[in-house]
């Protein structure tokens, strides 16, 4: 569709609407491990550019260094855009600035909760202070900072929950259990 655009249509306005269209298409690409949330809602897609010749440059960032889903996500983006008629898709990996759960959309957080995964509760690991070094760095790993955040149960809403394990089924999640409804649940960690 974009590749087929007539030369006259390659104005700034046309390119900008093409970019918006690409974002909308990417918004329908699900995360392979948590399919209720899209890769856009998760904050993985950082930049979309459309060149005058219709080629599309997509910049993505990994959630975790070792995230095994990155190749699947890259393939899913290419497949989705090909299916919409974009002939040339170039993917770029970017690691800085580092991905944070702060980039997750409110819609994404709501979808996680509906799926039974508690969304990130607060910014627990704030690296902005760490870069100052010294005392701030030491404080970040002191035992007081290691206390797990209070997380509401995504099933019954109770705040009466406790952490079972700091790691869950994927690197981005921790395991909790609800002390009221007794259900175990995944918590999408702040990162």
């Amino acid at each position: 569709m974009i590749a087929a655009a007539a030369p006259a249509a390659r104005s700034a306005a046309a390119l900008s609407s093409a970019v918006a269209q690409i974002w909308a298409w990417l918004g329908a690409v699900p995360d392979p491990e948590i399919p209720v949330i899209s890769i856009v809602d998760l904050g993985i897609v950082r930049d979309v550019r459309v060149a005058a010749d219709g080629a599309c440059d997509i910049t993505i960032t990994p959630t975790y260094s070792g995230c095994p889903a990155m190749q699947v996500i890259a393939d899913a983006i290419t497949d989705a855009l090909h299916a919409h008629g974009v002939v040339q898709v170039r993917l770029h990996n970017q690691i800085s600035p580092a991905w944070t759960t702060d980039w997750m959309s409110e819609a994404g957080k709501a979808a996680l909760k509906g799926y039974g995964i508690a969304p990130p509760a607060q910014q627990v690991i704030d690296i902005s202070g760490l870069r100052a070094g010294g005392r701030a760095a030491a404080a970040a790993v002191s035992r007081r900072a290691a206390l797990a955040p209070t997380v509401a149960c995504p099933h019954c809403g109770s705040q009466h929950t406790e952490i079972t394990s700091q790691f869950g089924s994927t690197p981005c999640k921790a395991l909790y259990k609800c002390l009221d409804c007794r259900e175990p649940f995944d918590y999408f960690k702040c990162h």
């Binding site: 580092a98 690991i125 760490l130 790993v141 035992r143 790691f167």
Partner: protein, 250 residues
Amino acid sequence: MDNKVNYLLRLGDNALILSQQLSQWCGKGPALEEDMALTNVALDLLGQTRLWYEYAAELEGAGRSEDQLAYLRDAHDFKNCLLLEQPNGNYADTMVRQFYFDTWHYFLIEGLTRSSDARIAAIAEKSLKEVTYHLRRSGDLIVRMGDGTAVSHAKTQAAADALWMYSGEVFAYDAVDEAMVAAGIAPEAGELRAQWLAHVAEIFAEATLTMPPADAWMQKGGKQGRHSEHLGYILAEMQFLQRAYPDAEW
């Protein structure tokens, strides 16, 4: 070998060898949660390995891929610290090794976020939240095991004593490390060691463990490729497929 390439390979080799060691616990952890935690940490370290190797391979410019660096080098070409090739042993051995490493790794990575090399700073920024989480978890486990039962305390103290002599190598800077410090790429050893000692002392105090003497004699040589026999066994398993079926791909 170029100093920066050498330094990057050291960072990558540390992460890779520990990742491989932790993966051995997969399916054998003392509890399901521990099993998942260690394999998640292994996955983070593997991701970091790839970032370091990728950069090292680019700078080296010899056409080696990250896979070739991991699978086609022999023990004397590996530059990981001796601590990381020590056997998994019992769970206290694994967690003390992890805690000693995580403490150094955290303060190192935190220092590398201010590296004069923008690519290294970016990789450090990406890794910092992961290693912060690793250190919080391993410190928590040391307290739980040290201040746990008489048996867990004894095993954790024994592991802390036995692995202590491998904890100092990371602070024994050689010409490669010093070149990195001079170029503003890596943090100095003195400050890192002070931070490491302070954090280990804090956790050991809460864990009711006795910290071995800071001036104890320390092993070294891993960074320069002089390894214990353990590394050969680790590589034999890790590299088998590529050695037996060269260029095999998933």
